[in-house]
Amino acid sequence: MSSHVPNSHPVSARAPGRTLAAWWQALPLTTVFALFFLVPLALVLMVSFWDYNQYEMHPDFTFKNYLAVFDGCISGDDLCVTFKTYLSTLKFSLLVWLLTLLIGFTVSYFLAFHVRSSGVQVVLFVLCTIPFWTSNVIRMIAWVPLLGRNGLVNDALVHLGVVDQPVEWLLFSSFSVVLAFVHLFSTFMIVPIFNSMMRIDRSLLEAAADSGATAWQTLWNVIVPLCRTGIIIGSIFVITIVMGDFVTIGVMGGQQIASVGKIIQVQTSYLQFPLAAANAVILLSVVLMIIWALTRMVDIRKEL
């Protein structure tokens, strides 16, 4: 860049609002997201219209991949594979969302309003976030010795005489998938909700109490509306993760349960890139619609 660019004028260069310097500083990050996020997304969209055979894909402009995805969806009496898979993935999302919201809110509420010492508060909060920095797969297989046929839970159930035979549905089932999702991703709910709760002005709670509100009324009419942003951010995280997941459903479902992410993964492994891309575009549209519905009025930047 030469000194003829107006913004690099010596005087303005020392002022805080230097646009050019700011651009140089933002350049590495911008480049990474251009090369590894925006271009790839554009390519997914482009390739979803390409044609392919067993060996390779080639440029084209065809809707056949999209037609293939929705094959049998219009005419058939039964639900087609795509609708079934989306329905099952949405069901997981909804269930995991409800559970993580309930757990996340309760845990955050306890930390924010019932723990008095701020030191203890920090320690307990960190305790909830540490597992986030450890391996997800490890945290999944950690359930095997507990939920397996000869696992601790089954042993206990048989010993207590609750069941005669070890129960099979504990592991590699929808149950274990939901359990693992909640185990892995409730942190994504706790952090934003806790953050929102810590910003609530405590005098509002006193005012509510002075006006004769019960604990429940304060919770429902003061705290919940004021953590709306945290709840929405957490919900976006959890729902988008579950909607696109294939690792957790794969490992915890014993590779037997279908999900949208898994379809994409399998098609990629068969080198059916255009088909996988079409599925990705559809998944992205569904996820964007959900996010749009959730975020209409939240400014994430104000929350930091």
């Binding site: 230097r18 590894f36 996020f37 930390l111 391996s135 397996g148």
Partner: protein, 294 residues
């Protein structure tokens, strides 16, 4: 001290304790089980105690060379960490100034954070495969048959996988930078400027020491998120896998406590990095406080 606890306190405390048990219980179980005796299996009871399964692990599991996968992941994690710290701090500084298009950039970064990983991964995989096709065509056009025959793929740990990891770690890095600068008092910096410090001096001697303890946190995010990454790496990896990808593959094939031993090893690495980060961060803030009293 004697003030009465709010109603529901004990109920909530029990709920919280149960949640912590739910978080850590399973992890503790596999650490314990990784020390099974040589006769032991995947579940309790423990048949003696040994480090047998760790030795087995060192020999490799099936066809998988755990040692080299571990080193690959360590190398990649450290690289991702370095890039994440530098790029996030730079971008954080940029966002404090007037950055035209800043809101678009911020939107893209947040979009990357919440984008389903499989889509990002597929996109990067496609990008590099198309790049491969392009390079091969060029080599053919230029008649460089020898190079063409030796050409494998542009997909790899330090190309596509590195990029995939950065799309996941940088959003966290940038958000942490925002959080840091939202709480940052610009008075020190202005004082430095008034005393004639250049922008670089102001950054190096005033801003950086003040933000350093939190920047360590960005490094920790960078390493640990990369160390465990699967979803974004899965379709954007070349011929060799990272450790978590190997681990994911092993979950269906390995039926001995070796897999728990591997879990214990990766957990130990994660905890070491967290410990180092906390230590370094508190060291830096102690220094900062000591400096203020000079």
């Amino acid at each position: 001290m004697k003030e009465k606890r709010a109603p529901g306190f004990w109920l909530l405390a029990i709920f919280f304790a149960a949640y912590v048990l739910f978080l850590y219980g399973p992890m503790l179980v596999i650490v314990v089980l990784s020390f099974q005796g040589p006769e032991g299996g995947l579940t309790f009871p423990m048949r003696g105690w040994s480090t047998h399964w760790f030795h087995k692990l060192a020999d490799g599991l099936g066809s998988v060379d755990i040692g080299s996968a571990l080193w690959r992941s360590l190398g990649l994690g450290l690289t991702v960490m370095a890039f994440t710290v530098v790029f996030s701090v730079l971008a954080g500084l940029a966002f404090r100034k007037k950055l035209t298009g800043g809101s678009v950039l911020f939107f893209v970064v947040v979009a990357s954070l919440i984008m389903p990983s499989i889509i990002v991964s597929l996109g990067i995989g496609l990008e590099f495969r198309l790049l491969d096709a392009g390079i091969k065509k060029l080599l053919e056009a230029w008649g460089m048959q020898g190079t063409l025959d030796n050409y494998g793929t542009a997909l790899g740990i330090y190309t596509s996988a590195l990029g995939a990891h950065l799309t996941w770690t940088l959003p966290f890095g940038l958000l942490i930078m925002f959080a840091i600068f939202n709480r940052f008092n610009p008075a020190y910096e202005e004082a430095a400027r008034d005393l004639g410090a250049t922008p670089w001096q102001g950054f190096r001697h005033v801003v950086l020491p003040l933000i350093a303890p939190s920047v360590v946190g960005i490094g920790m995010f960078g390493f640990t998120l990369s160390w465990d990454e699967i979803a974004r790496t899965s379709q954007a990896i070349g011929d060799v896998n990272t450790l978590p990808l190997e681990l994911q593959g092993l979950t269906t094939t390995v039926t001995t406590p070796s897999i728990y031993a591997l879990g214990t090893v990766t957990m130990v690495v994660s905890f070491c990095v967290m410990g180092l980060a906390v230590g370094l961060s508190s060291l830096l803030s102690k220094r900062q406080k000591a400096g203020r009293h000079d």
